[in-house]
Symmetry: C2
């Protein structure tokens, strides 16, 4: 299915939505890219950077102009915005497609509280510890996964167009049930962020100032502690049940590791570490999609 | 002080010792680089790669030839090797300098159990999840920290020569008391590795196979779970007291974070995450020494 949308509007222009606009433009997409948002400076910046073609501060004007509206905001703001937006587009004559980019799907869909069948909830598994339109990159989604969580009621043509849009960014588009998405992301992204935060705080309190002696391991294990605090507050609060469960499962592994260490169980530790190495290697290509295959001897897991 | 050693011998040739040999050669060092080790294939490989000039399987021959012996082995093997080596060099007429590269200093020095004053314990804070001589890189130490842990008895000229050797690799050489080293490294390196292992194992057991949906955050938070299992078993066992303490301090932070999440404390979470972001940004340049200053707006912390 080709992408036949004439005008895409971005409601909120930051790292992710800005990267999507840039990726669409870089793909040769010839339609119009319009910005809307509460903060004119970031819209002006988007215009100056050439990320969007024009912007408006009037939501009704943007709704009337766009065939596809992309809500790009932190999870809580996305839910609030959708709760306002969906009833409006439902009343509009041209019934534009709506999608969002929020890292949490259940809470956002519940908050939107509107059965608009041309709303396709989405979440690109891509990001950066940087935020804002200036950090936007046209290759942010290349090889990354985009998870869409349509329901049985979702309009098929809307789903096909959102899928076609993401295909232009060189991403891999998949579909999942909402609850599976939130649980999987709690495990693969949200709990890792909590670990990075906890590690960073423990080091910040260390009287030996041990962070001064960090190498590449600490660089990587704390990088995402530089992420946007409001975004991560939203994620922690809106996905709290799945997140607490995911953190608890890591805590159980830490307890087990401590027991092996305290018992001096060298064989147990070697087996544990070797298993982790195999698991990590099996996911090397998946986690490093920009690498050339020649750089890794490992195959993409099925 | 200039580096006036004529022949450096590497006892064990792997990622770290091989990178040191390559860095010395890349610096223009004109002396001889000799390999010794239990496994001839890795020595042959080092010779083929041009990392060393020659090798021997006879330790006495190597001791007689070298002015500086670098023990490059995992912590436990380093301790064992030093316990054998130091009494031999102590009896040798030319009293060569000895240093090591092990990530643990207290256990290794205790195991060596020999007051040889020209032994300078060392630890380069650099590594990779890859291992072996083929992964050696001549820029592995550029901008990284080398911690030496001399005692009051350590020979000043031996300390000066080991310091001068590391200066050739573009590393930053500092000195610390042994116990501080082991505690600081437990916090800044060893506990982060345990977090990466625990996270990887939790994901490996996840019925949703959530690792399949990982992005850049998971890539970085699990990279070091691909590290050498024997090396990390050694580190966990030989630095167990400091490591358990460091892991416990991260666990305490995780518990605190879970309490904030469970209480729905948005203000508390935002403040926690914002503090972590500031701490991480303050260490950006230190943790990313290969970056050009223009790539980061943050200054090196004092």
């Amino acid at each position: 299915m080709s992408f036949h949308i004439q005008c895409v509007a971005f409601l909120g222009l930051g790292l992710i939505s800005g990267s999507l606009a840039k990726a669409l433009r870089a793909s040769g997409y010839a339609g119009e890219l319009v910005g809307y948002g509460p903060r004119e400076p970031s819209l002006q910046r988007g215009l100056a950077l050439g990320v969007i073609d024009r912007y408006s501060l009037d939501l009704d004007v943007v709704i009337a102009a766009a065939d596809l509206l992309v809500v790009g905001a932190p999870p809580m703001a996305s839910g609030e915005l959708l709760a306002d937006l969906l009833p409006r587009v439902q009343r509009s004559p041209h019934q534009p497609i709506v999608t969002d980019l929020a890292s949490i799907k259940g809470w956002v869909i519940d908050r939107a509280a509107c059965q608009y069948h041309r709303f396709v909830p989405g979440h690109p598994i891509a990001g950066s510890e940087d935020s804002g339109i200036d950090a936007a990159r046209d290759d942010l989604f290349a090889g990354r996964e985009i998870i869409l969580t349509p329901s049985g009621e979702t309009d098929a043509s809307a789903l096909a167009q959102v899928t076609a849009m993401w295909a232009l960014t060189a991403a891999r588009v998949i579909q999942m049930p909402v609850d599976d998405h939130d649980a999987a992301l709690a495990a693969s992204s949200h709990s890792p962020h909590m670990l990075a935060y906890a590690l960073t705080m423990a080091l910040a309190k260390d009287p030996l100032q041990s962070m001064q002696h960090g190498g590449g391991a600490l660089r990587d294990m704390t990088r995402i502690a530089g992420s946007d605090p409001v975004m991560w507050r939203d994620i922690a609060l809106t996905n709290c049940v799945a997140l607490l469960r995911a953190v608890t499962s890591v805590e159980a592994e830490l307890s087990h590791l401590k027991a092996l260490i305290a018992a001096g169980d060298g064989e147990g530790l070697t087996a544990y570490f070797a298993h982790c190495r195999n698991v990590r290697r099996d996911h090397d290509l998946l986690l490093n999609p920009l690498f050339e295959p020649a750089e890794s001897p490992h195959e993409i897991p099925q």
